[in-house]
């Protein structure tokens, strides 16, 4: 099993020059198709390259993603950054090192035992002659090398490296001194700052702009941009454009083509037209007849059913989305913090009906990204404006209200769960029906309508129907298939149509709702038979790594005495049943006022070989904090006219006052594939909190978030 696979990126980019640039003496520049979205991927990638090549971490630079020069490694999402780019760079590094050593031995005419290897230079102990990676990179040999798709155990063994190195993040010094540049900070001569004047909701046609207002804009040297129902204002002075945005809202009038909805969204999820697919073991969804749910008459078999509900959630980056674009010499150059830099290039070229080579996308950091947020929209919108004002940079920023009201949310959802357990404590039947809107409406050259401004630009407000995705763990049915060996399962994915809000990929897609529901329900089934939560899980698992993670969690939790008036809960998941393993324990207490205080969180994760341990810990603790925030506080509020959750007062998220003490453990599997950790913790976090809360209240709360209102309603039920 200690064979190492180079990952999918090597299929297309199998030359060393696709990944490495040795043109600057003493510096190794590394290409990657992944971007820093808060997860510090560039530091992890530099560390991987450094560990293997033995070039100092400080001498390795990761080249910022640009569609002109970088490998296309798809979207920076789905916890695949280290799995894809990390594996590719590891494979390239191993290939480089093995070939370099052979080349040096041959050219220096020496034996292995006579070499000194230091920081990318091989020296003959006897003659003091040297050859470096930088020399090697100039040779034909270097250019001809093909990176293999697999490495066997022996070649891996030749490469020695330490795993748990401490590093300084590549970006940290600039961040703490305020020098780190985000798209928001770009400044070009004569650049125009832009803001979009938005209607109250998604389906509004522009009717009228007050003439007086237009005059005022001219007097103040502000440009009005109107295309269809898409309206923006531009000025060289950023303050002025923000000031006039408020005035614009009162002077521009819209016709509402279709309202949002007043109906309770959980009713809509049940009642509206839907497409139902059968999800089979392995996690794929099929257009097949859905079998009837079984029932059990045998008194020795206990069954239970529950409906779990989750509200709409938002990404809510702290810095609203932004992009800078220029149209010059018939070409676009666009600075963006999108996860989907390459897809954007093709979508934008498709919209303008031009050769994709005339669109160049360059990554510039934005605020943290947790899925498909406003980044693609704003880059598209900036390019639309830039096209009309050639040779000038347009810096378009979304406002806080834009971000809160116009981003694609994580869908509200329902899970109807039914299960049966026999006298021996075996789960013999498990049914889980997930109901949700789509988690996948990223724009592409085939789906330009997924840009939020597309309908305003074209004045075409017809609603489009999303299609269910069927591949394993894709979207709504991510982690719907339980990892446990239950005797019989019935899993149904329901893509519900005509729901009120715009939705797309939010960190973990359906997995947060599915795992929270399943792992809560499993505890409820276990408690019918008085089975310990660890035991019910371990008894239904064969995978040793899964069992190790649970045992490790148990051990770590036992070290700490339970505090008075506090309660614990645990949960487990393997992300997509194929990526990282994670078990979470939570200790919390509930005040008389039904406020939930998180005291302690235990996280044990197995992400294969550790690429960067502190990075993994930061990711899983960050993931826990975000998921705890979803579980405890978050809910997008709206009415038939508009989104009500327009700011941080109307959309509460977790603060520093409810951060638990963490005990985080990472299990290392040297030589095993890297498994990303950006998402694995969210589902078990929701469920561990749910389970601890159930222990605290003596009753299962089945609606997220666990606010005082929701808990009260459930207790009264």
């Amino acid at each position: 099993m200690n064979q190492f696979n180079s990952g999918p990126s090597i299929n297309t980019y199998n030359k060393l020059s696709h990944w490495f640039d040795f043109s600057n003496p003493g510096i190794l520049k590394v290409y990657s198709g992944k971007i820093d979205i808060g997860q510090h991927i560039s530091s992890t990638l530099a560390l991987i390259a450094s560990k293997i090549t033995e070039i100092k971490y400080d001498q390795i630079e990761i080249i910022k993603l640009s569609t002109d020069i970088s490998p296309n490694e798809g979207i920076t999402a789905s916890s695949l950054s280290v799995a894809n780019s990390g594996s590719a760079i590891k494979a390239a590094s191993i290939t480089l090192k093995i070939n370099f050593i052979n080349y040096a031995l041959e050219n220096l005419e020496i034996k292995n035992e006579d070499i000194l290897f230091e920081n990318g230079v091989i020296k003959d102990k006897n003659s003091n002659k040297t050859i470096s990676y930088w020399d090697f990179a100039k040779t034909d040999d270097f250019r001809k090398i093909i990176i293999p798709e697999n490495f066997d155990e022996n070649s891996i063994k030749k490469i020695n490296y330490e795993n748990n190195q401490k590093i300084e993040l590549k970006t940290i010094n600039d961040i703490v001194t305020g020098k780190y540049k985000y798209v928001h900070d770009i400044n070009f001569p004569k650049m125009l700052h832009a803001r979009i004047v938005r209607p109250p909701s998604y389906h509004c046609k522009l009717i009228k702009i007050n003439e007086d207002f237009k005059k005022r804009l001219v007097e103040n040297d502000i440009t009005l941009f109107v295309k269809g129902s898409f309206v923006a204002i531009l000025s060289q002075d950023e303050f002025l454009v923000t000031k006039f945005l408020e005035i614009a809202k009162k002077n521009i009038f819209w016709e509402e083509k279709q309202q949002l909805s007043n109906e309770n969204v959980f009713n809509s999820l049940e009642k509206h037209e839907k497409e139902s697919l059968l999800v089979k073991s392995g996690g794929e969804a099929f257009y097949e007849e859905i079998p009837e749910k079984k029932s059990f008459d045998d008194p020795k078999i206990k069954s239970l059913s529950t409906i779990f509900k989750k509200s709409y959630l938002m990404h809510g980056p702290i810095g609203p989305s932004a992009s800078c674009a220029i149209y010059k010499d018939n070409k676009f150059t666009i600075f963006s913090h999108s996860q989907s830099i390459f897809a954007l290039k093709y979508s934008i070229s498709k919209f303008f009906d031009i050769d994709p080579n005339l669109v160049s996308l360059k990554f510039m950091p934005g605020s943290g990204c947790y899925g498909h947020n406003g980044a693609d929209d704003v880059a598209f919108e900036a390019s639309v404006i830039a096209k009309e004002y050639p040779d000038r940079h347009i810096l378009l920023k979304w406002t806080r209200e834009d971000e809160h009201s116009w981003e694609p949310y994580g869908s509200a959802s329902l899970n109807k769960v039914f299960g049966a357990i026999n006298d021996y404590g075996e789960v013999i039947y498990w049914s889980n029906e997930a109901y949700s809107d789509t988690y996948l409406s990223r724009p592409s050259d085939l789906e330009l309508t997924n840009f939020t401004s597309y309908k305003f630009l074209t004045n075409n407000f017809a609603k489009t129907k999303s299609k269910p995705k069927t591949s394993a763990h894709m979207g709504i049915h991510r982690n719907l298939d339980p990892i446990y060996n239950f005797k019989e399962t019935r899993l149904v994915k329901n893509l519900v149509h005509d729901l009120p809000l715009r939705t797309s990929a939010l960190r973990t897609l359906g997995a947060f709702a599915n795992v929270t529901a399943s792992e809560s329900f499993l505890n409820d089934l276990a408690s019918i038979k008085n089975i310990d939560p660890f035991d019910i899980r371990i008894n239904h698992l064969d995978d040793e790594r899964a069992i190790d993670v649970l045992n490790n969690l148990k051990e770590k939790m036992e070290i700490f005495k339970l505090k008075d008036d506090s309660f614990r809960g645990i949960a487990f998941s393997r992300y997509k049943n194929s990526a990282a393993y994670c078990a979470v324990g939570v200790e919390l207490n509930v005040t008389d006022d039904l406020e939930i205080n998180l005291n302690h969180a235990w996280i044990t994760v197995d992400a294969g070989e550790i690429a960067y341990e502190d990075g993994i810990k930061a990711q899983v603790e960050g993931g826990f904090i975000q998921a705890a925030s979803w579980a405890l506080y978050e809910e997008v509020i709206f009415d038939s006219k508009e989104i009500i959750s327009k700011d941080w007062d109307s959309y509460k998220i977790i603060g520093f006052d409810n951060i638990p003490v963490f005990t985080t453990s990472v299990i290392d599997h040297r030589g095993f594939p890297y498994l990303g950790v950006g998402e694995v913790v969210a589902g078990p976090t929701g469920a561990a909190i749910s389970n601890a809360l159930c222990n605290a209240l003596g009753q299962r709360i089945k609606i997220l978030p666990f606010t005082k209102d929701n808990i009260t309603k459930e207790l009264l039920n």
Binding site: G38, N173, I175, V176, G178, G368, G622, W648
Partner: protein
């Protein structure tokens, strides 16, 4: 549009500029003076990312009228470094790698600097008070709290 000649004392430097009369302080800092380490997150005094020091006190700069702060000592994240380099709060954040995307970080460093300037051994309640109103969406909280704790121990 009325313009006003103003002078600001920022990070120890005197800057004379003509600004639109009602320009907010954050726009003077970022747009006129190019100090982009101060971040705009909400413009509504809800997130903390625009925090700066005015006469040593932490203030949110997103809604302040710039012209009212002409006679004050204004310090932004760029002005925290002293002759030995990073200040102790920046140093601790660097040492602990206490940021994910970093968008919220400069505001937090400003608030914690203001706290430790007054009190070398703040209680956990005082630390909580200083962090109140600072939002982080990436979940850097646990590492940030470790970095802050290290300042007390030292």
């Amino acid at each position: 549009m009325n313009y006003l000649d103003c002078s600001f004392k920022i990070n120890g430097n005197l800057k004379k500029i003509s600004i639109i009369e009602d320009k907010t302080l954050i726009h003077v800092i970022r747009d006129e003076l190019g100090l982009t380490g101060t971040k705009l997150g909400c413009g509504l005094e809800q997130c903390g990312s625009c925090a700066i020091l005015i006469d040593g006190e932490k203030k949110l700069s997103c809604n302040l009228l710039a012209k009212d702060y002409q006679n004050c000592e204004i310090t932004t994240i760029e002005g925290l470094e002293n002759k030995d380099g990073l200040n102790n709060v920046q140093e601790a954040f660097r040492e602990f790698n206490a940021a994910q995307c970093g968008y919220c970080t400069s505001g937090i460093i400003i608030s914690i600097t203001a706290l430790f300037d007054k009190n070398k051994k703040p209680s956990s309640q005082e630390i909580q008070n200083a962090l109140n109103g600072h939002l982080c969406r990436c979940g850097s909280h646990s590492v940030v709290l470790k970095a802050i704790d290290s300042l007390i121990e030292n």
